[in-house]
Amino acid sequence: MQNTVLKIDHVTHYFGGLRAVSDFNMELPEGAIWGLIGPNGAGKTTIFNLITGVYIPTKGKIYFRQERKFKKKSKDKNEQKGKKDSEGKKEQKEERFYMEDITRYKPHTIVSKGIARTFQNLRIFPNLTVLDNIRIAEHFRVKYGLYDAVMRNKKFKEEEEKIKEEAIKLLKLFNLHSRTYSLAKGLPYGELRRLEIARALATHPKLLLLDEPAAGMNPKETQELMDMILWIRKEFNLTIFLIEHHMKFVMGICEHIKVMDFGETIAEGTPQEVSNNPRVIEAYLGRKKYA
């Protein structure tokens, strides 16, 4: 039995009168790579925005697997308390893990819980160095406060060294080491894509959301990206959920695919099943032919 990392439970979301997502359900198993496909405007990015707390769903809940810490947590006390009471029984069964309701959490809290993402249109910090881009993502793990920073004391220096070392290690893994001190805006597109993934990983996620990672890449780069994603999963022990238009990419890498159209889930299954599904062909591939 595999554990569920992320559970999306009957999520519906409206923008004004428009239903962007209707009754979306998902149980993402640990260590999997799942894909989300569908025509433009199907609501895919909205799903990512709902998971990461940018939007709060009109209806439904989102749960994320958490390791139980036996110490009392200080963050988001109230929200957690309410949840613990109602989920009390379920938690008893799983000893170390429980599903935490993250539906109404703020984006930065969700990041600290272990969900990181990249963006459809790159959103790196252009006027900062590559190193700073990474260090900012490590920021919420920094253990010094305003006082330590002002005094530049031993604690500050040790922590700073630690995160810098970690950042440089990460940059080396992504072959961005030579760019450490370059401004991010000067980097070529492919390196920016890698930097964005590295930045997401710097938050130490358990679940990585990739929004069209292969956008704008040629076939060779796309192939490299596929290899990289598989490698990331192994190296960082991650679960990955991605949105992509590139069919070969999705079919080649994802174990399970969900297909959306007009906010509804119209099909899901293995790449094989999905690509043979007549509704998918009609809604997605069919439309593409005329486009």
Binding site: T45, N49, V54, Y55, F119
Partner: protein
């Protein structure tokens, strides 16, 4: 309390509200299209007041009786010209720079207008009496306990006529449609063949003209003018625009009248703290209703 909510206060409220409305429409139009808080907008109003002042003084010197409509036209033209020039010289080159640089530039333009006016010996930094009786002789009417002057009647009726004309332009003319389209989506409007820069020029001209008219109307009813007279009404008109929902013309009008009434009643209750009521409204609106009364909610695209 009965003495506070009387007819006189209502008249005063409408009158102040009308002036705020004329200024805040310009704020809201400009903000709607280029998302710029044009700090210099209050100074267009000051320019309008001075243009009227000089027009009246000029005719008085020639022993002629000035025509109100011509003076109104002169202040509107002056406001429009200054607005047009500040857009062309200062704001337009910054169109694709970060929004805050345009905001700082607006502060610079505002300072420039204020201090240049007070540095020019013909205008000077001190208060001047607006020769309103040379323009229209004063009449007062008694309605119950309230006193209504013909200045107030001119003030309110000119404001209403101008607002009706403006609403007509925005709602029913080709250029008005283009303005609304540009406010919705500049890029789409451009692709539809709308010359955005032309629309922005036009928006500044309209806003400047209305502010100029407000300058004349203020001169008639509160006959003291100086180069810094635009700062506070400008700020309050902006608050009115925010209250009504920035970007919305009916919102700006509604917000202005609400603000006008609150100020008049607030001052009647406590004259020192009443001065601060506009700011209190601003802070409450921003906390509880950032999109304003008639504005649309906007979310950032991720």
């Amino acid at each position: 309390m009965g003495s506070i909510f009387n007819l006189q206060q209502i008249i005063n409220g409408i009158q102040i509200g009308s002036i705020y409305a004329l200024i805040s429409i310009g704020y809201t139009l400009v903000y709607g299209i280029i998302q710029l808080i044009n700090f210099a907008h209050g100074d267009f109003y000051m320019v309008g007041a001075y243009a009227a002042y000089f027009a009246v003084m000029f005719s008085a010197a020639r022993k002629e009786h000035p025509n109100v409509l011509i003076v109104l036209l002169i202040s509107m033209t002056a406001g429009a010209i200054v607005a047009f020039l500040s857009n062309r010289i200062a704001y337009r080159p910054l169109r694709y720079k970060p929004r805050l640089s345009a905001l700082i530039t607006a502060i610079g333009v505002s300072m420039f207008l204020e201090y240049t006016s007070s540095a020019i010996p013909a205008i000077g930094p001190s208060y001047r009496a607006f020769p309103q009786s040379a323009l229209i002789p004063e009449h007062t009417y008694k309605i119950g306990h309230a006193i209504l002057s013909n200045y107030q009647i001119v003030n309110m009726s000119v404001a209403v006529v101008l607002m009706v004309v403006l609403t007509y332009i925005v709602q029913y003319t080709r250029i008005g449609m283009a303005m609304r389209a540009s406010a919705q989506d500049k890029d789409a409007a451009r692709l539809m063949g709308i010359d955005i820069e032309y629309i922005i020029d036009f928006t500044f001209i309209i806003g400047g003209a209305l502010a100029g008219a407000a300058g004349l109307l203020t001169g008639i009813t509160y006959p003291r003018i100086n180069p810094y007279m635009g700062i506070i009404p400008g700020l309050k008109a902006f608050i009115a625009a925010v209250l009504g929902g920035i970007g919305s013309v009916p919102g700006a009008m509604l917000g202005s009248y609400i603000l006008g009434f609150s100020e008049v009643f607030g001052m009647a209750i406590n004259s020192i703290l009443g001065e601060g009521i506009a700011y209190a409204i601003l802070i409450l609106v921003l906390i509880f209703l950032p999109q304003g009364l008639l504005g649309k909610k906007t979310g950032e695209k991720v």
